[in-house]
C-alpha cells in the first residue's frame, strides 16, 4: 500500500464526479439515462468515452443488458459504481467541503 500509485490522490473531472454521484445515488443506470438525468451537462457524444475511461480507472463497472423478448437490436450497457469509485467520490466530496470551509481559510490566514 505504500507505493506511490496507490497513495496518489485521485482526481475527478466534473463529468466523472457527476457520473459517480448519479450512480451512487440512483444505483445501476444506462448511459442514456445519465444523459437525460444530467439536464444537459453530459452529452450523447461524450458520455461513453467518459464511462470507458472511468471503467479503465476502476471507478465503475458495466455489463451488457440483454433486451427483453419483443425487442431486437444492439444490447445496451448498464453501469454501476465500484467500491473504489464510491471511495473516490466520497473523498472528493469531503475535499470540496474542507476546501470551502472556514477551516481551510483559517489555515491560509
Amino acid at each position: 500500500m505504500n507505493d506511490s500509485k496507490n497513495n496518489e490522490f485521485p482526481k475527478l473531472s466534473r463529468k466523472e464526479f457527476l457520473v459517480l454521484g448519479m450512480l451512487i445515488g440512483r444505483g445501476e443506470m444506462f448511459g442514456l439515462e445519465m444523459v437525460e438525468a444530467s439536464e444537459g451537462e453530459l452529452k450523447r457524444g461524450t458520455i461513453y468515452v467518459t464511462l470507458q475511461r472511468m471503467g479503465d480507472k476502476g471507478y465503475i463497472e458495466s455489463r451488457e443488458e440483454p433486451r427483453s423478448m419483443p425487442e431486437i437490436g444492439i444490447p445496451r450497457r448498464k453501469y454501476w459504481a465500484t467500491g473504489l469509485g464510491e471511495r473516490v467520490y466520497h473523498t472528493s466530496v469531503k475535499a470540496h467541503e474542507i476546501f470551502n470551509s472556514d477551516f481551510a481559510w483559517g489555515g491560509v490566514n
Binding site: F30, R44, G45, Y48, L51, G73, I74
Partner: protein, 174 residues
Amino acid sequence: MNYIEKEDQSFKGFIKDALTIRFWIYMLTAVFLILSTTSIANSITALIIDKTILSETIKGIFKFAAQIPLAFLVGRYIVANILRILFSNKLLSDFPINSKLLFITNFLYSRKIQKEVFLPIAADWLEEYFEALFKKEIWKARWINVRYTSAFLAAMWQKSPIGDLIEFISKLAK
C-alpha cells in the same frame, strides 16, 4: 409526350412544390447550412493564411482563391449529407441506420473501444430513433439521426490519436 410538354410539366411541378411548407423548410435549412459552412470554411482559410509572411495584397488574393473551392467542398459534402439525413424518406426505412459508421469504427478502433463506446451509442441511437418512429414523430426521428451522427463523430474524434494527444496536452497544461 414531346419535350416541351415535359418541360412544362416539370415547371408546373416546381411551382406546385414551391407552394408546400416542406419546400420552404428545405430551402431555409439549405440556406442556413450553406451560410454557416461557408463561414466556417472562410474562417479556417483566413486563420491559416494570416499566419503566413506575405504582403496584405497577396494574402487577400490567396484568401479569395482558396475560399471558393474550400467553401464548395465543405458545403457540397456536409450540407448535402445533412439534408439527405433530414429529408430523405428512404433513410427512414433503412435498418440499421448506423451500420456504415459502425463498420468504419470497427475497422479503425480496437474491439474494446468498439464494445464500450461505439456500440452503446448505436444502441441508444436505435432506441431513441425507433421510439420516435413508433410515435410517428418523423421529424424527431430525422433530428435524432442528425444528432447521433454528430455524437458518433464526436466520439470518433475523442478516441482518435489526435483527440488523445489534445487530452494529454491539456492534462500537462493543468
